[in-house]
């Protein structure tokens, strides 16, 4: 568990982070979202001591981060950033193996781990010997994520890791990342200024503004009961309804019923936005649900208040 207790940080006059308290559970994918300059990166970087708070403390599993030497602490925490920061003079494999090498793993073990990570992030094994400049932006980000996870850290920090990518590549990576997170059970703290990305990825979300936490909760909580007008402004807007659909699963809105033979079906784990899309596409008000006998998803189900 990561615990911020009343942390503050000043740069010059301005208060970058002002009295923030947060608790992040183990295995959680926790998102810090908010406008640019709101203090998200500063908060994130307090966890691996790239920033030291002026007041308050950050504890990991009850232990103050200041009690561990900074380099030891950092080798146990994955770190991936928007501008990737791959070492331009090192091959992809060497980049991914950075932390394991620091930790003194054997070459065989490093090589095996690099191969495993490249497969996990759907990177072609042939690019292991390439330099970062020879990769596409999407590939670079995948290498950056692989590098952050290389030494199987219990915590991974990610600062807008997909920020510079085109929407298609970004969505692919988000999916891959959700799957990897589910498989590994790593605690992830993820910074983004993109509300859709936050809602899509986060188990829980903290909305940061002006160095304060305005609201902390699940995506559904933020959408259904924003704490104030600022949060409402960010989560709401023209696509508020669609966002609400996108954070709910077919499984949570399906009802008993029957449909004609040959009606298209949708996976129970798909989100309701995909269900709506399929309804519009096939001009049907009701769809069959895969792997759930006697259950259907209907337009009325989409419109019913969340259970």
């Amino acid at each position: 568990m990561i615990e911020f207790s009343n942390v503050s940080k000043r740069f010059g006059q301005g208060e970058a982070v002002d009295g923030v308290s947060l608790q992040i559970a183990s295995g959680e994918l926790f998102v810090l979202v908010g406008p640019s300059g709101s203090g998200k990166s500063t908060l994130l970087r307090m966890i691996n001591r790239l920033v030291e708070p002026d007041e308050g403390s950050v504890r990991i599993d009850g232990k103050d981060v200041r009690d561990t030497p900074a380099t030891d602490l950092r080798r146990g925490i994955g770190y991936a950033i928007q501008s990737v920061g791959l070492f331009p003079h090192w091959s992809v494999a060497r980049n991914i193996g950075t932390v394991p090498r620091l930790l003194g793993w054997s070459n065989d073990r490093i090589e095996a781990r690099v191969q495993e990570l490249m497969a996990m992030l759907e990177l072609d094994a042939g690019i292991a010997t390439r330099l970062p400049a020879e990769l596409s932006g999407g590939q670079q980000q995948r290498v950056g994520v692989a590098r952050a996870m290389a030494a199987t850290p219990a915590i991974v920090l990610m600062d807008e890791p997909f920020g510079a990518l085109d929407p298609v590549t970004r969505e692919k990576l988000q999916h891959a990342f959700r799957r990897i997170h589910a498989d590994t059970g790593t605690t992830v703290v993820f910074v983004t200024h993109d509300m859709d990305e936050a809602l899509q990825l986060g188990d829980r979300i903290a909305f940061i503004d002006g160095g304060h936490v305005r609201q902390c909760g699940t995506p559904l909580e933020l959408l259904l009961s924003p704490a104030d007008e600022v949060v409402r402004g960010f989560v709401g807007g023209a696509s508020a309804g669609l966002r609400l659909l996108s954070v709910r699963k077919v499984r949570d809105a399906m009802t008993p019923g029957s449909v004609a033979d040959g009606t298209p079906s949708i996976n129970a784990d798909a989100d309701l936005r995909q269900a709506l899309s399929m309804m519009v596409d096939s001009r049907l008000r009701t769809l069959r649900v895969d792997g759930a006998d006697g259950q259907v998803i209907s337009l009325d189900g989409l419109l019913a208040p969340p259970r």
């Binding site: 501008s83 920061g85 791959l86 070492f87 331009p88 003079h89 950075t98 932390v99 620091l102």
Partner: protein
């Protein structure tokens, strides 16, 4: 591209015309009664062996619209033929002159050599010549000159006669000169590189360091050498000789060393540095594994600048009694023996060019690795 194709190659024309004019109106050689007195100059058309030169320059001019390879061949031919013919002309003139007579190289000769060398360089650039072709052209020319010298073609030139008189002292001086320049460069790197690393992170420290070193650089070299004589004598190191020379040369070399070290350290992308720290590299590991390897090409360029600068400035060291090629320059100035001055100056230029070329080759060899 099309625009440049349609325009006249102005640089080539200018160089060709300069060569042509030099061959017509400037003295190619000067015959003096002895090594100290001023003599009588001869334009190249006044000497049978050199009479063809204006024609050769016209040919060069005619090739300016031809492909670069043809122009390169013409320029290189004129250059080598000019050197050979001047040597032969000197022998002829000397045979007809008195016992102590000297044949000195005139302004016309130097203008023509400069124009021809610049033409070769220009044509090579135009050819977008691969590094090895460039290197082959220059070493080819250098070897040709060495071969002519070895077979005695230049023996009758006054500069070479001065060299023959000073042979042992000249060779010692070259050694001293290089030692002084390399020692100063090494000392400047040993002091300046750690200094730059120390101040790299501190805005204030960096500004102050560069300001002080810039100030040093503005002190005229002769003044700095002179300024150092008294304090060093007081320290008991000896106010004259190699010590003040080394101190002064090191002081001058510090600015480029610090500046290039700072530039080299700044080569690493900020994101890579942030990632390196964030993954738990120790500060020294960030330096040795990320910043130094990425800055290598910049460091190499800095080293080249420092070496060339030190080789040039080491000439002044002779003023405070240090060895080196500067001695010939000042000795010649004192005696009024221009060819002794010329000997020292030419040797320094050749050393500086050789150091520059060697370092560039090294840089290019290193580039694909970095």
């Amino acid at each position: 591209m099309r625009w440049t194709e349609r325009t006249w190659p102005l640089a080539l024309l200018a160089l060709g015309i300069a060569g042509l004019l030099a061959s017509l109106v400037l003295n190619a050689v000067v015959v003096a009664p002895n090594r100290l007195l001023t003599g009588h100059g001869y334009v190249s058309i006044a000497i049978p062996t050199l009479r063809w030169l204006p024609l050769a320059w016209l040919v060069v001019l005619a090739t300016s619209r031809l492909p670069a390879a043809a122009g390169l061949a013409a320029a290189m031919s004129v250059l080598s033929a000019l050197l050979l013919a001047t040597g032969l002309a000197a022998a002829g003139l000397l045979a007809a002159a008195g016992e102590h007579a000297r044949v000195q190289l005139g302004a016309g000769f130097w203008c023509m050599v400069t124009a021809a060398v610049l033409l070769v360089a220009d044509r090579l650039r135009e050819l977008k010549a691969r590094p090895y072709l460039r290197l082959a052209c220059w070493t080819g020319l250098a070897l040709l000159v060495v071969a002519m010298a070895a077979t005695g073609v230049f023996d009758r030139l006054s500069v070479v006669q001065e060299f023959a008189l000073q042979r042992t002292r000249f060779i010692t001086a070259v050694g001293q000169h290089l030692l002084l320049a390399f020692a100063a460069a090494a000392a400047a790197v040993a002091l300046g590189a750690p200094l730059a690393m120390a101040v790299a992170q501190r805005q204030g420290g960096r500004g102050a360091t560069l300001a002080v070193l810039n100030l040093v650089q503005t002190i005229p070299s002769m003044a700095l050498f002179a300024l150092l004589v008294a304090p060093l004598a007081w320290l008991g190191v000896g106010g004259t000789g190699n010590a003040p020379a080394l101190v002064a040369l090191t002081a001058y070399a510090l600015l480029p060393v610090v500046r290039y070290t700072l530039a080299g350290l700044a080569t690493a992308p900020p994101a890579a540095l942030d990632a390196a720290r964030g993954m738990g590299l120790q500060p020294w590991q960030v330096l040795t594994r990320v910043q130094l390897p990425l800055g290598l090409p910049v460091f190499a360029a800095g080293l080249r600048i420092v070496l060339v600068q030190s080789i040039g400035l080491a000439a002044v060291a002779a003023l405070v009694g240090a060895g080196g090629l500067g001695r010939f320059v000042f000795l010649g100035l004192g005696q009024g023996a221009n060819d002794l001055v010329m000997l020292g100056t030419l040797a320094i230029i050749v050393l500086a060019l050789a150091a520059d070329g060697a370092c560039r080759a090294l840089e290019r060899w290193m580039e694909p690795r970095a």
